[in-house]
């Protein structure tokens, strides 16, 4: 029997177990692909985040130890073993890794950090866990269920809102470009060649994102909605290299189902409520309200910046603009001696990996950080230099255009959250 404040703990326990297993798998995959070394150990320079410049990678084996810690804590979360400690440590380690370099930012990694932080405050280790040893509460606070649903729902809704723009709806870009590029995939080629298919997919994708949280909650629409979730993520996973993202979304969205959904798969799960679960204290309610206020404000903050968001990228991160832009850039950096006026090209390959250079070519934020680094590097050799960028970017089917003012000394620009006057505001028409 469910009360107003309690629900069957089964779906939350399943969420915890799936989350832990997915994260352990993600960390093992990251290790196996050699990305720990390639992304965190080998680069001589890291694009830290504004306000988090003090975060640095550990030397050599240290980063491998961090990932070992991630695997262990994720498995402990899955099992519900020392849950509170495990999820707290997992959150710290995972978020530390994510804050190391903007070049590795992915929306779904951000989502993992958010979910892990929320889970730190949830008693998810009290049910169906090693910690509970079969004696735990089989009821869980309702707020936990709805908090996780709301957090996942926001991702879909904001991803849907982000698609309500002319590129996506009128030009069907970048989907049109992507479908043409992947027309060799079995089945997709025939569909992609149909005139209007890209538009249909674009509009369908927007409607899907906006509607799926509600459709998953409603019992009658749930089977179709979940089939849609699985199908959507399977197709996008096949088309693009999305890593764990399709798995995360497909395996965590059952949290929208009835709280007892795991019992339909495992009828032998224990029932009953040996211990009542704790209710949300008043401060907790306020904290949650504050949390979601931030979660609503962050994705909307880009409205405070002039220009086209996907071009300027001011307010782009943490706003769930998922897979709606295709950008390629070409960047040439020049140093100018402030005293003599002498100019010479800067070769970023001296201290950036190819992936970092590719990201920097289209990201004003990263350009600014690197320009400051170049200035410091030359200052150490006794030269006071200005740094100029000739950066051209092509976006969503448009021809390339300058991203920044090439006459501006990037190394002299303030690194703050104000709109960047040196960034052009829009792509080519």
């Amino acid at each position: 029997m469910e009360t107003d404040r309690e629900v069957d703990a089964a779906s939350l326990a399943a969420f915890r177990a799936l989350f832990g297993l997915l994260m352990a798998g993600a960390a093992v995959r990251f290790w196996a692909k050699g990305w720990i070394g390639a992304l965190y150990v080998e680069p001589a320079f890291h694009f830290t985040y504004w306000g988090f410049d003090w975060i640095r990678p550990l030397p050599g084996w240290g980063m491998y130890a961090v990932f070992a810690g991630l695997i262990v804590t994720a498995l402990a979360v899955a099992l519900g073993l020392l849950y509170r400690w495990a999820i707290a440590l997992f959150f710290v380690l995972f978020t530390y890794v994510e804050l190391l370099d903007q070049a590795t930012y992915l929306n779904h990694y951000y989502l993992v950090s958010l979910l892990a932080l929320l889970m730190c405050f949830m008693p998810l280790g009290r049910s169906f866990s090693v910690d509970a040893r079969g004696q735990g509460a089989l009821r869980a606070p309702r707020w936990c269920l709805w908090t996780l649903r709301a957090q996942l729902g926001l991702v879909y809704v904001f991803a849907g809102v982000a698609k309500l723009n002319a590129d996506w709806l009128i030009e069907a870009e970048p989907l049109s470009t992507w479908l043409a590029a992947r027309s060799d995939l079995p089945g997709l080629g025939a569909l992609a060649s149909i005139d209007g298919f890209a538009h249909l997919m674009s509009w369908g994708g927007a409607v899907f994102d906006l509607a799926v949280p509600l459709a998953l909650l409603h019992r009658r629409t749930r089977p179709f909605a979940y089939a849609g979730v699985v199908g959507f993520h399977l197709v996008t996973g096949a088309m693009f290299q999305l890593g764990m993202f399709p798995w995360i979304m497909a395996l965590l969205t059952p949290i929208f189902f009835s709280p007892s959904w795991p019992r339909r798969l495992w009828t032998s799960l224990p029932r009953g409520a040996p211990r009542p679960s704790r209710t949300l204290p008043r401060w907790g309610a306020w904290a949650l309200a504050g949390w979601f206020a931030i979660q609503l404000a962050l994705p909307l903050r880009h409205h405070a910046y002039p220009g086209q968001l996907l071009w300027t990228e001011e307010g782009l991160r943490w706003s769930w603009h998922v897979m709606i832009v295709e950008k390629s850039g070409h960047l040439e950096l020049t140093a100018r001696d402030r005293a003599t006026g002498e100019r010479w090209p800067i070769d970023p390959s001296e201290d950036l990996t190819f992936a970092q250079r590719r990201m920097m070519a289209t990201s004003p934020d990263m350009l600014l950080r690197y320009a400051a680094h170049v200035r410091e590097r030359w200052a150490a050799r006794g030269r006071d230099v200005a740094v100029h960028a000739d950066a051209w970017v092509a976006m969503n089917g448009r021809r390339s255009a300058p991203l920044v003012d090439p006459e501006i000394d990037l190394a002299a620009q303030p690194d703050d959250l104000a709109p960047r006057a040196w960034v052009t505001r829009r792509p080519a028409p």
């Binding site: 149909i194 005139d195 693009f240 390629s328 992936a355 051209w392 089917g397």
Partner: protein
């Protein structure tokens, strides 16, 4: 069911244009451009092997002249293949074995003095700095010596002579390896494996080739890298084959773009880009024609022009290469959804 029927009707009422046939394009690029280019290199390299062998057997003005001509022919032919250097040339490190530069004169002289015997097996295991066309260039064109001195050394030093002949033979062997690797193995893999990955590989490689010409063959010798102009930093400084080498490389890039070669019209990357953006395809073709034209306008050798301070044409070429590279790295890459990258981290 109604919704499904409406969707089916909607789709059925739309016109269906077949997706661009990238496999056909890759097949044409391989058969019309890449493989013939490697065959041409193989033929020139065989001529070179014969000419260096003849020079060693009977050093004379005639055999030296023939070896030099053969060297120029082989180098031009190899440079023309560079646009396809992403395949076996790179994977089997044949590009380094044929064309490692700058030339390491000390290493070459040490090898002649101490190493050997200069059989094919020795060249197989030797480091890239002591073999290939640049090493042979030093031995055939050394500007510090007169032709008579060069010939006298070859006549008096059997080891030097054997080394020259061995180098020619090794280049020919590498050329044959490239042809064998392309036809049919690599050619088939390129065509039948993931066509999107093949196109990405090609575009990335063309960007890298343009960067190499711009940075290593122009920026450094012209002093556009912040340092003083350095005439000796040109590629092929001994033979003065700097402009000819760049021209062959850039003609090769244009071949890969247009899909045409030697009067044979094929399907090129331009056709694929034109299927998405005809204006962009025309722009890139124009730009590549400009780049080739500007290279032809440089009075060779570039080294001498730098010494004289007459570098206007070369600087124009440098600027045109920048713009061409930008078109590939930004516009073409975006239009074809090519990721300009050498790593495979996830997206979003």
């Amino acid at each position: 069911m109604k919704k499904v029927a409406v969707l089916a009707l909607l789709l059925a009422s739309c016109d269906a244009e077949p997706a661009y046939d990238r496999a056909a394009m890759l097949e044409s690029l391989s058969d019309v451009v890449a493989v013939p280019a490697y065959r041409a290199f193989e033929a020139e390299a065989e001529t070179l092997a014969g000419a260096t062998g003849a020079l060693c057997e009977a050093p004379s003005e005639e055999t030296l002249g023939a070896a030099r001509d053969a060297w120029r022919g082989a180098r031009t032919a190899f440079k023309r293949t560079e646009a396809f250097g992403f395949g076996p040339a790179m994977e089997r490190r044949i590009d380094g074995a044929v064309d490692f530069w700058p030339t390491r004169v000390t290493n070459i002289e040490l090898a002649i003095r101490d190493a050997g015997p200069f059989e094919p097996a020795w060249f197989e295991s030797a480091g890239t700095s002591v073999k290939g066309l640049p090493a042979l260039e030093y031995l055939l064109f050394d500007p510090a010596r007169t032709d008579a001195e060069l010939l006298a050394r070859l006549g008096e030093e059997p080891r030097r002579c054997a080394y020259v002949a061995g180098l020619g033979g090794h280049v020919a062997a590498q050329a044959s390896l490239l042809v064998e690797a392309w036809q049919p193995g690599y050619r088939d893999m390129l065509v039948t494996d993931d066509p999107h990955a093949s196109v990405s590989l090609m575009i990335n490689h063309l960007i890298a080739v343009l960067e190499d010409v711009k940075l290593n063959r122009l920026s450094k010798p012209l002093g556009l890298d912040g340092a003083a102009p350095d005439p000796e930093a040109v590629e092929s400084p001994y033979a003065g084959h700097d402009v000819a080498g760049m021209l062959a490389t850039l003609r090769g890039v244009r071949d890969a773009w247009t899909g045409d070669r030697g009067g044979v019209e094929g399907i090129g990357l331009d056709d694929y880009v034109a299927s998405r953006d005809p204006e962009l395809a025309a722009d890139v073709t124009r730009r590549l024609d400009d780049v080739v034209g500007l290279t032809e306008a440089i009075d060779p050798p570039l080294r001498d022009r730098i010494t004289e301070g007459r570098t206007n044409e070369a600087e124009q070429l440098h600027q045109a290469l920048r713009e061409t590279q930008r078109l590939f790295a930004a516009d073409v890459a975006m239009t074809l959804a090519v990721t300009v990258t050498f790593t495979d981290n996830d997206g979003d």
